[in-house]
């Protein structure tokens, strides 16, 4: 295990200066992610237009560097994405955090992949996986995705 792998520069920077932090007016979808183990909360707000495109996204919450950085990176990435894309990226990220060595989705650009992969260090720390995924589960709830019955980490 290597702390440097867990606390990479990108994570520390996003953890300190989270992007898209704070509730914005005229959001029309929202959901809260909660980790009962530690009490951390991430509330995701969306402005979803009639084409199911995320026009605006932000989050509110408190938590560790990993959960804040993950929420920050996610909101940056998801802005202006449309529904099927959002789902594909979300599932790809959750699979990567759980088992896959890398991200597979063609929708994610190389620089975005670098940012997301900076969170992959949590694989070595099973107790911290939830920190990296809390915002993503909140986004899934805000998008009204349903969980796949056969795979609890996959949304359909």
């Amino acid at each position: 295990m290597d702390l440097k792998e867990l606390y990479q520069e990108i994570i520390l920077e996003h953890g300190k200066n989270p992007r898209n932090l704070g509730k914005f007016e005229n959001f029309n979808k929202d959901a809260e992610g909660y980790n009962p183990l530690c009490g951390d909360k991430v509330h995701v707000y969306l402005k979803l237009n009639e084409n199911k495109e995320i026009e605006d996204i932000s989050f509110e919450g408190h938590g560790c560097a990993i959960s804040m950085a993950s929420a920050s990176i996610m909101t940056e990435l998801m802005k202006d994405k449309k529904n099927p894309e959002v789902k594909e990226i979300l599932n790809d990220f959750l699979s990567m955090i759980k088992q896959n060595p890398e991200l597979k989705s063609q929708l994610i650009k190389e620089d975005e992949k670098t940012k997301l992969m900076s969170l992959s260090g949590v694989k070595q720390y099973p107790m911290r996986v939830k920190c990296a995924t809390i915002a993503w589960h909140a986004l899934a709830a805000a998008m009204s995705y349903k969980k796949d019955e056969n795979d609890s980490e996959k949304f359909i």
């Binding site: 295990m1 520390l12 530690c38 909360k41 560790c64 560097a65």
Partner: protein, 404 residues
Amino acid sequence: MSIEDIKKEFPIFNNKIQNNDLVYLDSANSSQKPQVVVDRIYDFYTKEFSNVGRSIHYLAVAATNLYENTRTLVQKYINAKDKNEIVFTKGATEAINLVANTFGQKHLNAGDEILLTELEHHSNYVPWHYLRKSKGVKIKFAEMDENGDVTLETIEKNITDKTKIIAITHLSNVTGAILPVKEITKLAHSKNIPVLIDGCQGAPHLKLDMQDLDCDFYAISCHKMYGPTGLGILYAKKKWLEELPPYQGGGGMIREVKKEGITFGELPNKYEAGTMATAQVIAFGESIKFINKIGIENIEKHERELTVYGEEVLRKNNSVKLIGNPKDKGSVLSFTLDGVHPHDIATILDEDGVAIRAGHHCCQILHEKLGLSATARASLGVYNTKDDLEQLNESLNKCKKIFS
């Protein structure tokens, strides 16, 4: 016995944890086990095992005697009047549930008040919460002050003519506050109110004397007392155990069972339904002997010195903010570190073999009052040394460096 010698009795410290010596600062969560306790479980299962209180063969009789010996050891250890005032449960949580359930059933009605404090662990709130729905009772919380204390005056202020029971912690697992439980009990009894004390943190660190304390109920967690998991103790005055209804039904707790009805067994069987945690009970006898060998007064003295030393060390660290500055403080050091979330602290400390707890420590009411979602907590046991606290501070400086 020197601390070095005491530490040698705990086999866990012979192992490297991720290539580091273990600095175990999570005893308020659960303590480590001395070799004698581990051996006792092994010996019982390999040489002496039988169920207790049922069969009449040699092993059953011997096991029953061993099981009852622990009850007597506990009785003497906490100076209870009668050995039948000791009830084994699956944990302190079950001990409190037992009281909330049976006392609630018999003595609580709509509009009655239960007085707790804002310091309480979830296990001394959630069991009472059920009575809100089933009985329509009201739960009041005596306020914690800025030092993390709950004073006798605050308790008094919250008592009304509707207060039917007071349930309070002996020692807060977050702020370390040791409550004036004897004075609170005296005050409550002057108003005919029974008192339950959650002794999860009190029992491992403080000398107990039930007859002097005079409380009605005292809940103990054995795994925090160098004993096995899956075991707790409810001390209750005999009059309560005789008067209250049984908690769980099953084998062992009955006298006569007929199709038309059932009569219940005598104490202590009345509250010990089903096969109990036999090996754990017998091994817990060794925990008591282990504590007695060192002397609880010596353990308390050692831990109080370390707590003061730990506070000194952490106060010198400008980035650390200690949580709780009570008048009388037990062996708990809760803190926050500027700019670093407690979970990140715990992960980074863990790399150095320093085991602490981070989170709300099952005290969300208390953390809401503090305005924090989480804190970090270093808690002490008999095996801790000043070096452990130095290492804690050094590892905290490493956190600062990573997050600077």
